[in-house]
Every structure is written in C-alpha cells, then in structure tokens.
C-alpha cells in the first residue's frame, strides 16, 4: 500500500464518520453537549483559580501592610512619615492615602454616599500603604517591619495581610486539586459516553461490518471509521467546552469588572489560556479516541460474517 493510498483511506474514513454524525444531528448534538460540559467543568474551575490569582496578584504575591495613623495627625507630618518609610531598605513602596482621598474613593464605590454625608466629619484616618520588597517579605522581616511602624507615636494600628494571603493561597491550591479530581472523574465519564455511543453505532452497523469482513476487511479497517467518530466527538466536545468557557467569561466579565473597581483594581476576566485550550483539545481528542478504541476492540471482534 502506497503512502497516498494510505492517506486517502484515512481521509475517506474521516469524511465517512463526519457524514454519519451530520446525518444524525440530534443524537450527535446531545452526545457533544455531554462531552462538552464534562470537559468545560474542570477547565472552568482551573480558569477560576487562574483568574483569582491574577486578580489578587498585587497582594497575593508580595504581601502588603496598611499602617493606619491616628486621627488628628497633621498631613505634613504624615507625608514626612511616608518619606521616612520609603528611605528604609526592604521597602518597595510606601504610599500615603490621605483621609480626604480615602473618603472620595469610598464614596465612589461603596454606595454609602448618603450615609457619609450625614456624618459630621470624615471618619477615615490617613493610611500609609506599605509594600515590602519581595526579598524582605519573610514572616520575620514582616514582623520587624510591623514593630518598626507600631513604635511610631502617630500610628494607631498596623494591619498585616500575611495570614489572609496564606489562607487565600491555600484555598486556591485546594480548588486547583479539585479541578484535577474533577478532570479525572469527568474524563472517565467522557470515556464511558464515547464508548457507549460507539457501541450502539457498531450494533447499528452490524450488517455492514459482517459484509466488510466477508470481503476481506481487516479488524483495523473495520475499526478505523469508529476511531475517527470518537476523535470527532472529542474535537467537537472540546470546541463546545471552549465556547461554554468564553461565553461564561463574556457574561461574568461586566460584573467582575464592577467588583474589581470596588477594590480599586482594573482587573478584567481572562479567557482560557493556550495551555488550557491545549489540555481541552488534547484531552478531548485523546479521550474520544481511547473510548472508541476500547469499545471497538471489545465489540468488533465478536462480529463475524455468517452465511
């Protein structure tokens, strides 16, 4: 068999499988939907975790510290403190958020504007927002930094976000593992769905298989169209999963942007990355092919021509 003949036969088998799926649109659509959802779910979890990491990137990686000054500290003195902090080694940034500005931001995003107007004076203190260098972010460094700020008489409270960051990262790690477990379970589900669909297809085409074997068709020849059918289910399911993810991102994005603005962030949802898409298509095709192969291996053997 020449290479071109070999290629032609595969193209024929592929087109034949495609044609059969297209001729049965409802059944095909239902199967694809099941596969698509099974692939989309773990990918969505993974997407959620990635987005959560990006969204919290500012304080998720480098920890930061909020130094609340006592009310009544003059602004000029607060500025001087900020400059002193900046001069310390181990500090990447120290930004003063004067009470006036803090109030403006709060009024803009919180929706408590009317309530604030009712107050006689600004209830917010000046805040010094301190970001340590990555090289000086160990628990001990942070503790000594906290003590440095607490020692100032102007300082009311120092709030360190380490604990929160650690918990948050731990939650993300749990979710990531959950995505892996979901992928394994749902992957097995895809295998079963494709396998069963192919089994029914084989039973439907029993007469054709018998005749094909009768005229000398090998097991590989008989199996080929079913493998392509499985592969097409995998590709179709992956495309559908992709569409589901993009649609979810599209629908969620406006509310997420609003939420992010409330936290003073310009964050917007990221769609699935190349790696996620690669996993989606690779996983879909691999599972489709494998499911079809297992089913074909089990059921084609027993179909032998009868006279």
């Amino acid at each position: 068999m020449s290479l071109s003949v070999f290629g032609t036969r595969h193209v024929q088998a592929l087109l034949g499988s495609f044609g059969r799926l297209a001729r049965n649109p409802l059944a095909t659509a239902l199967t694809l939907l099941v596969i698509g959802l099974a692939l989309a779910l773990p990918a969505a979890l993974d997407l959620f975790v990635s987005n959560a990491q990006v969204a919290t990137g500012g304080f998720g990686q480098a920890v930061d510290m909020s130094v609340y000054l006592k009310t009544g500290v003059p602004l000029a003195q607060a500025r001087q403190l900020a400059a002193d902090a900046r001069a310390r080694p181990g500090i990447a940034r120290a930004t003063l958020i004067p009470a006036q500005e803090g109030l403006k931001e709060f009024r803009k995003y919180s929706g408590f504007g009317a309530a604030l107007d009712a107050l006689p004076s600004n209830p917010l203190p000046d805040v010094l927002h301190v970001v340590p260098r990555a090289s000086a972010s160990s628990a001990a460094d942070l503790e000594s930094l906290r003590r440095y700020f607490t020692a100032w008489p102007e300082v009311d409270v120092v709030q360190l976000d380490t604990q929160w960051v650690l918990r948050f990262n731990a939650i993300l790690a749990v979710l990531r593992r959950l995505a892996v477990i979901a992928a394994a379970l749902l992957g097995a589900g895809v295998l079963a769905v494709v396998g069963n669909t192919i089994r029914l297809e084989i039973l439907n085409r029993r007469a054709e298989i018998e005749v094909t074997k009768l005229v000398g068709g090998s097991n590989a020849f008989v199996r080929r169209p079913f493998l392509y059918t499985g592969l097409l289910y995998g590709v179709g399911g992956a495309v559908l999963a992709w569409v589901i993810l993009e649609a979810a991102v599209l629908i969620l994005d406006p509310s997420v942007i609003t939420l992010a603005q409330l936290y003073g962030s310009r964050f917007a949802l990221q769609g699935p990355s190349r790696q996620v898409l690669g996993a989606l298509f690779g996983g879909g095709m691999g599972l489709g092919w494998a499911g079809a192969w297992i089913s074909a291996h089990r059921h084609l053997r027993s179909i032998e021509p009868r006279a």
Binding site: K213, L214, V215, G216, S218
Partner: protein, 230 residues
C-alpha cells in the same frame, strides 16, 4: 485450488453437518455442489470461505490449510475468494457502486483503479449505468448480479456461490449460471452450490453430489480430461 481431506463438521449444537468429506477441485475447474436441502452444501462453502473451521480433517484453499490459519491472516485469505450468496448480502443503504467497490476498498486499491474495475465488473454482469442506484431500486435478478460483480471485481482466483439462482426465474437463473461459466472460461475456479438439477444438466459441468453430509458422487470421473489421464 480446493482440497477437502476427510473433513467432518459438527456445529456447536451437536449437529454433524459433514462426515468424512473428501474432494479436490483443480485450479481453473468449475463444479456444482448439489444435494437436497440440509445435505451440507452451505457448510462446505462456509468451510472454504473460513466462515467456519472443520471439526476434523483438513480444508486446503489455494495451498493454505484453513484449520491453523491465524486470525490476523483471515482477511487476506478471504480477499482471494469471491463469495456470492442467495440473499446477496448487499449494503442496502449504499449505491451499487459502493457495494461493488467494497472488496477493492478494503484491499486498499487506488481510487482510479477502483473506478475502472468497478465499471468493468458491472459491464460484465450487464449493469453498467446503474452505479448510483440503491439495491432496493433494482430487480431481484439485478441485485443478484450486483452481488456477482462484487465477488469478481477484485479478480479473485476462486469464486464460490451458494444458491445464487434461488430467487430467480428459470431464464434469469440460466443467464447467471452462464455468467459463472464465462468466469471459469478465463481461468477462475468456480464452485456453485445449487439444488436445481435442470441448470446443472444445461451447463454440463462436474457435479459433486452431497447426501446427508457425505459425498455421494464426486463427479470427477465424468470429466472427460480426468478420464483421459487415468
């Protein structure tokens, strides 16, 4: 081409369909396999096409013993045999062309070659021009001839046919048998099972007679050239 040596066949249900059957069909020879219904004709053909294996004895086809042939060699084995059935076993949802092309496609023939050979085979059975029709759109006689075209399209050295004229009226039946004789004239070995004595006499070929699973008449002696060599 076909050699049966003391072949017995017992089906799983315990029914002994053949008992100590021995005969030899030379390359290029044509013979009828006759006998009453249940005599074992179909069983002989099934053993030749490796749809069944012998319980005892050896069946040798084109130099290969079927008893020990490995599963992965069966497809190639079957490709050298053209098989025609009474119920023709066509794919009802495929046009005539696809049905006839199947043996070439499974053998991996190039597309151009497939096209040429399918037309040639349909021409031989007088069905050129009906490539795109579905089997259901054809008469019974035409369907049978599609089955024959499929059996000969890959030019196998051996053709076996099980009651190929069972559903045909006498005129059509004779025409189909003459078709087989024409293949035999160009060197193809042909074995046809039938219970139609009239046709057998009409074609004047060797007749192997089975009765209750045993050879009643090998028919070889009646062949002029066989007589001459003895």
């Amino acid at each position: 081409m076909i050699q049966f040596e003391r072949v017995s066949k017992r089906y799983p249900n315990g029914r002994e369909a053949l008992t100590h059957v021995s005969f030899h069909l030379a390359s290029g020879e044509m013979a009828f396999l006759t006998g009453r219904s249940g005599a074992g004709k179909s069983t002989v053909l099934k053993l030749v096409a490796l749809l069944e294996r012998p319980t005892r004895g050896t069946v040798t086809v084109n130099g290969k013993s079927t008893g020990s042939l490995k599963a992965r060699h069966i497809p190639a084995f079957r490709r050298q045999i053209g098989v025609v059935f009474q119920d023709h076993k066509l794919l009802v949802d495929r046009p005539v062309f696809d049905n006839v092309a199947l043996p070439l496609v499974v053998a991996g023939a190039p597309l151009k070659e497939v096209d040429k050979r399918v037309r040639a085979a349909l021409d031989q059975v007088g069905l050129l021009g009906k490539e795109r029709m579905l089997p259901a759109e054809l008469s019974v006689g035409e369907q049978q001839r599609v089955g024959i075209a499929r059996a000969v399209v890959s030019k196998p050295p051996l053709i076996i046919a099980d009651e190929p004229t069972g559903n045909l009226d006498p005129d059509l039946a004779l025409e189909v048998m003459r078709l087989f004789r024409r293949f035999s004239d160009v060197g193809v070995t042909v074995l046809v099972a039938t219970h139609d004595q009239h046709l057998v006499h009409e074609l004047a070929k060797r007749e192997i007679v089975l009765a209750s699973g045993e050879i009643q008449d090998d028919g070889a002696d009646s062949l002029p050239h066989v007589v001459a060599t003895r």
